[in-house]
């Protein structure tokens, strides 16, 4: 209970500072100023010079820091605008502190850290390096000014200078690498990629969730064209829209914050500094969007074949960190669209393969049968002309036609069904086929099944039927078999088929390895299965294993 409360508090606190580097810096400045003031008050030895001026300066600084923190708490524009001036003030205060305090108790070091860390968090390594160099130079300048005084300790000055240089290097490194940090987890991204659904809705929904926005819009178009059509999601409602003209003109920037009501846009230059512009030049959000959409984040979206814009609005704690975050969101949204397109292509590919496979089956069985039947009719016709008794041949043809009719009916039934077929039904169909094959080849052909629960993809059932036909034909043609037994079982998500016959087998007289039933093997391989042949005179076992999961329906 207590743990749960603490966790909730911690999460709330985390949420308060998530993507809020400006807020963290402002709060840090306030705490530092107050702490320093308190430290000076308690330590009677400090400041060593300009006592009144130091107290006055620090008091003003503390009040100013509080004012800045309050003013920028929820104002990304002011935060960005005041970033550079406040940075300069931080550095100036640092110099003054170095000048006015000198003893071993001087906490000036913290004042060195603040601007340096601010630069590393807010901007890039260049600004951090510039800040570090400036601070070190200011420190040394102040040191030189004090070198002639009695309180100056050269040894301490050199050691502290070394500390400053090492810390500077560390923070410059941080400045180089901190921008590569991912804002969201891979699982967030993976869970938003799926099959079938509207890809735009998925990508937009993902961006809204991760950014904590109340709504958003995603517009994409083929690369080179203006993104005019899109999808908007606002408070759970989804609608598509079509624009007369593109509403975003980015001027080459891939992510920016905007406030059209106050005509403001902020983005970052590639090197990390802020760039300010008038929203009227960048955005044209018309009345089709909700009022809340007039303030938010815009990010460019690129896919392999499309480009466009993502707009997110109603982000309660929008901050300048979202400029970088927006770039990542744009990339992630593009990746979701790409992955959905890929999955769709895979599905279409599987469907095309199934169509081709069905066409092959129709060609191999029905078309060939009908061609053969036509040749038979021609032969019977010629026989009748020459006075041959054709009754037997007509009866045989009729029997073949009736059998084929059954085959075609089964084939069509399978096509009309859903993607899957109960194993019990599949076994019943195989039994019926085995009976027909038995009659066709004058053999005893039986099918047994071990457990008939579950379902198999339709494509697999069609393959099974063809495999049975080929296995029986092989057993009779090559081995002169009189009996064929077929066992069907499902285990470990695989369908196991065993075809055993009492023929002479595939082994040849010279004792060489058995010839392979290549046609059957080819069909098994197409279904991503495996085939094993155990053949000896008087018995042949063909063991076929087919995956259930990988078979396209």
């Amino acid at each position: 209970m207590l743990g749960g409360c603490f966790l909730r508090e911690l999460t709330a606190l985390q949420g308060l500072f998530k993507y809020q580097s400006g807020r963290v810096i402002a709060l840090g400045r306030v705490m530092l100023a107050i702490l320093f003031l308190l430290a000076l008050f308690l330590d009677r030895t400090e400041p060593v010079r300009a006592i009144l001026g130091t107290y006055l300066l620090l008091s003003l600084y503390a009040f100013g820091a509080i004012g800045i923190a309050v003013a920028t708490w929820r104002n990304w524009w002011l935060d960005a605008r005041l970033a550079v001036p406040m940075h300069a003030i931080d550095m100036a205060v640092f110099t003054a502190i170095v000048f006015s305090t000198n003893g071993s108790t001087s906490p000036f070091f913290l004042f060195f850290v603040l601007p340096l860390l601010s630069a590393a968090i807010r901007w890039g390594w260049r600004e951090t390096a510039f800040t570090a160099t400036s601070l070190v130079v200011l420190y040394m300048g102040a040191g030189l000014l004090l070198a002639r005084t009695q309180n100056f300790e050269l040894e301490r000055f050199v050691i502290r200078s070394g500390h400053l240089v090492i810390l500077s290097l560390l923070l410059i490194w941080f400045g180089i690498h901190q921008r590569s940090t991912l804002f969201f987890l891979r699982e967030d991204f993976d869970s938003s990629v799926g099959e079938g659904d509207n890809a735009l809705a998925r990508a937009l929904g993902f961006a809204i969730d991760v950014a904590g926005a109340s709504g958003g819009a995603l517009m994409v178009a083929p690369t080179g064209e203006e993104p005019l059509d899109g999808l908007a999601l606002s408070r759970g409602e989804q609608r598509t829209f079509s624009l007369q003209r593109s509403i975003v003109r980015s001027h080459g920037y891939s992510s920016f914050l905007y406030d059209t009501a106050r005509n403001r846009v902020v983005t970052r230059l590639p090197e990390g500094r802020f760039h300010f512009a008038a929203a009227a030049d960048w955005l044209d959000i018309d009345s089709g969007f909700p009022a809340v959409a007039r303030r938010g984040l815009a990010a460019e979206v690129h896919t392999g074949t499309q480009q466009g814009w993502l707009l997110l609005w109603g982000i309660s704690d929008l901050s300048t960190d979202f400029i970088e975050f927006g770039r990542e969101l744009g990339r992630a949204s593009g990746a979701i669209l790409d992955r959905n397109a890929l999955l769709q292509a895979i599905e279409m590919g599987a469907a095309a393969r199934t169509r081709l496979s069905l066409a092959r089956d129709v060609h191999d069985s029905i078309v060939q049968f009908l061609a053969g039947a036509a040749f038979r009719v021609e032969a019977i016709k010629r026989g009748a002309k020459s006075g041959t008794v054709v009754q037997t041949e007509l009866d045989e043809l009729k029997r073949l036609l009736v059998e084929e009719q059954g085959e075609i009916r089964g084939f069509l039934l399978a096509l009309r069904r859903d993607r899957e077929l109960d194993i019990a039904d599949a076994v019943a169909e195989l039994r019926a086929l085995a009976e027909r094959l038995g009659q066709q080849w004058s053999i005893d052909c039986r099918v047994s099944a071990d457990g008939e629960k579950g379902a198999i993809p339709i494509r697999l059932q069609l393959d099974l039927q063809q495999m049975l036909r080929e296995a029986v034909a092989n057993a009779v043609r090559h081995g002169g078999a009189k009996r064929v037994d077929v066992d069907l079982a499902v285990s470990d998500n695989r369908l196991q088929l065993r075809v055993a016959d009492n023929g002479t087998g595939f082994a040849n007289n010279k004792g060489q390895p058995p010839a392979e039933p290549w046609s059957l093997k080819e069909r098994v391989e197409r279904a991503h299965g495996s085939l094993e042949l155990v053949s000896k005179p008087g018995s042949t076992n063909i063991l076929i294993s087919l995956p259930l999961a990988g078979a396209a329906a």
Binding site: F369, A374, R376, I380, S519
Partner: protein, 205 residues
């Protein structure tokens, strides 16, 4: 009597043709179900006429015809088919069998074709002739191969793998795949094996 060898794997067709040739001037000497069996039986049975299905389980009937054509003498050949792709039609035309019959045409056309071929004439199913004309027109209007595509086909013909081709041409393996698919589309071949086998014929067009 004209000695006939039937090469077809479908039992219904084989049985029906057996019946059709009964009490005619044709003697059905045997039946091969595969390309390998066909090559063997042509050598052993020495038929005067081969009825050759294009779709065989182990290879194409066109491969069998190509092998027979390379020999010093070959029997007369009638290609039997239930349907051919453009590329197959063009290859078949190049290999110049004495006859070509669609299995789906009027069955009496087969005996008409056999009689004509035995009499020394060439007989092509009218529907096949028309489809061949269309295939030739399509091939003529197809985009020409680029120099790089011709280079790549030559390397495929030499049996090089994609990785080796990429190294040879100084491109990535992915680029080789893209080129290959473009070539497959242009030449209407299904895979690199077909491309390698028919490289000479396809590139010379």
């Amino acid at each position: 009597m004209t000695k006939v060898l039937l090469v077809d794997d479908h039992p219904m067709i084989a049985d029906a043709l057996g019946m059709l040739l009964r009490e005619t001037q044709y003697e059905l000497l045997g039946r091969a179900r595969t390309a390998a069996e066909a090559t063997k039986q042509v050598a052993s049975v020495k038929p005067d006429l081969v009825l050759l299905d294009v779709h065989l389980p182990d290879a194409s009937g066109l491969d069998v015809l190509r092998r027979m054509t390379k020999a010093r003498s070959r029997p007369k050949v009638i290609l039997l088919t239930a349907g051919m792709e453009d590329a197959q039609l063009l290859t078949a035309t190049d290999l110049a069998p004495e006859g070509m019959v669609l299995k789906t045409s009027d069955p009496s056309l087969l005996t008409e074709c056999m009689d004509a071929v035995v009499a020394g004439k060439k007989w092509i199913d009218p529907e096949i002739a028309e489809r061949t004309r269309q295939a030739e027109a399509r091939a003529a209007s197809a985009p020409p191969l680029t120099r790089r595509e011709r280079e790549l086909i030559e390397l495929v013909r030499q049996g090089l793998r994609n990785r080796d081709i990429a190294a040879e041409l100084g491109v990535t393996e992915g680029t080789v795949k893209v080129y290959l698919h473009a070539i497959f589309d242009k030449l209407q071949v299904e895979n690199r094996t077909e491309l390698a086998l028919r490289a000479g014929e396809l590139v010379s067009r």
